[in-house]
């Protein structure tokens, strides 16, 4: 490949506030069309916007988490254009004074760390949706304004990425951070985390960027990769043929994995930005920034490092456990009650994750086996009340019923048998009933030992203390 790709990303994250950015309507997804509307978000004459304070706090959080400086005097501007899903004929956004600027994120690709610059983060309102509804006899377009006026943060990166993998790594990192901050539900399919990619090519070794295309409508990490890869191919072909790439907006088509020009459908824009006279400046004094900083959760990077350094977890475990804030919280809560970091890690990554996966990818926050219950189970195991094997059986029962482990162990009579006399009787019985295998063992075929263990465990219905069984079997067979 004789071209170097240059990628910059613009991400729109929908904030999980209770209400819209400029009115009190709900931001819930999936309601009846136009049911979550009022004069303000419908753009009715005479209605006026009032800024949701939570949006500002969320924007500050996002800025702090991405190492941005926070702009202390913010102004909202109107971006003027006509479209049926834009009720006022302008979008309230920020233009020359965005709330966050000059940040960065570090990503890791192929074991190498790379810093990606963040140009700006600004607050704005979303548009509604222009859809083709499946209504008999209606061939027109239909407008649903439930989404209109929903708060967005637009996060714009520097053109610092040099491969689709770097773009994916940046996006995943950003996605993880906004989820950690609890400011975005991260749902790509519902459009809560949308990405536009600016892609250009330049000859390898060059420092002068080529003409870029802006790719829109990409709503999964997989598609981002596809769209960028397609775009690299397309632009390389043009350049190879001695042609020129045109600066334009291109729509990604997930069905074909290709992008197509939107040229001709949009005339050259002149958005006529100017300060919105209906809103007043947002002044953010240092104290406010510090108050928000105090609420900043531990971010995945710091958490992972702490798990390794303080809890002694392997890198792999740490990485998996911090993948979501909820999973990490579950883990930490359990470790607080049962301070054996690696054992808990094994269980969370093992049984807990397996059960949730099998249960339709249920969320960790809904796990019927709560951290206190899991800790109780692990304590029973540690005390020797039940064996590790029985513990897994008990876990499954806990998951199904939500009952406490002690109760299940008691109800089902799963207490581990550590009574030497009882186990000795079972061992004797097994040896008596299997003379041929005893002969084999004594003849040197030591692998038969496992067979005896299995038989004794079966006779005890799994409750015999495995250590005791081993000890007694060895003693009897060697005598």
């Amino acid at each position: 490949m004789k071209y170097q790709v240059v990628i910059g990303l613009e991400v729109h994250t929908q904030l999980t506030t209770n209400t819209k950015i400029f009115c009190g309507c709900s931001t819930r997804f999936g309601a009846e069309p136009n049911s979550q509307t009022c004069p303000v978000c419908l753009g009715f004459p005479g209605a006026l916007p009032v800024l949701n304070k939570q949006v500002v706090e969320n924007a500050i959080l996002a800025g702090l988490a991405t190492n941005c400086s926070i702009t202390q005097r913010n102004v909202f501007a109107r971006k003027n254009y006509f479209y049926p899903d834009l009720p006022k004929g302008y979008q309230i956004s920020q233009f020359d004074l965005p709330i966050c600027q000059h940040g960065h994120l570090d990503i890791e690709v192929d074991g190498e760390t790379k810093r990606i610059g963040i140009t700006r983060i600004h607050m704005e309102e979303d548009a509604g949706k222009l859809v083709h509804a499946d209504i008999p006899g209606v061939d027109d377009s239909c407008v649903d304004l439930n989404r209109a006026c929903t708060p967005l943060l637009e996060i714009v990166s520097e053109p610092d990425m040099r491969s689709p993998d770097e773009a994916i790594a940046y996006l995943k990192k950003l996605h993880q951070i906004v989820m950690y901050l609890g400011i975005c539900d991260g749902n790509l399919e519902e459009g809560s985390f949308r990405c536009d990619a600016n892609v250009s090519l330049m000859p390898v070794g060059s420092t002068v960027f080529g003409t870029r295309a802006e790719l829109k409508n990409i709503n999964s990490f997989k598609f981002i990769k596809q769209a960028i890869e397609y775009e690299i191919e397309r632009q390389a072909e043009i350049l190879d043929d001695g042609g020129k790439v045109i600066q334009e907006t291109r729509l990604f088509d997930p069905n074909t994995g290709t992008t197509r020009s939107m040229r001709g459908k949009e005339e050259a824009h002149d958005y006529r930005y100017f300060p919105d006279p209906d809103l007043v400046p947002v002044l953010i004094p240092d104290q406010w920034i510090e108050d928000v900083r105090a609420t900043l959760p531990e971010l995945p990077e710091a958490k992972r490092a702490r798990y390794v350094a303080e809890l002694g977890l392997p890198e792999y475990d740490a990485e998996v456990l911090v993948s979501s804030r909820e999973l990490a919280a579950y883990y930490e809560e359990t470790v607080a009650l049962f301070p054996q970091a690696k054992t808990v890690s094994n269980w969370v990554m093992g049984e807990v994750s397996r059960a949730l996966n099998e249960d339709n990818n249920r969320s960790i926050t809904d796990c019927p086996v709560t951290p206190p219950l899991l800790a109780d189970l692990l304590k029973l195991m540690e005390k020797g009340t039940i064996s590790g094997k029985i513990a897994k059986t008990v876990f499954d029962e806990m998951y199904k019923t939500g009952k406490a482990p002690e109760k299940i162990v008691e109800e089902k009579g799963l207490v581990q048998v550590s009574d030497t006399g009882a186990i000795e009787a079972m061992v004797d019985e097994v040896l008596k009933n299997n003379p041929a295998q005893v002969e084999q063992y004594r003849g040197g075929k030591e692998t038969v030992f496992g067979f005896f263990v299995g038989q004794v465990m079966r006779a005890s219905k799994g409750k015999a203390n495995p250590a005791l069984v081993n000890e007694l079997l060895l003693k009897k067979l060697q005598s």
Binding site: N18, G24, P33, P39, K53, A133, D140, C142, L283
Partner: protein
Amino acid sequence: MKITRSEVEHVARLARLELTDSELDTFTGQMDGILAYVEKLNALDTEGIVPTSHAVPMENAFRPDQPAESIGVEAALANAPLRAESFFRVPKVIE
């Protein structure tokens, strides 16, 4: 001339106003006159002057993140020129 007829046409497109030929002529003349009049502002040196958006100093007007009642689908659509079920209905974008 401060503004040409073709600039006026461009502005009309931006403003989504379909103007007749005679309106275009009239507006070109009138806008030209008005723009010539506002030229007088250039007589003032405004270097270093802070632009005023609001005459009365104001800042930080917020709303708490608390839900208010929506007006309901029927009230939202009651004035719609054309609707389909719970949607506003509009002509298709012609490419």
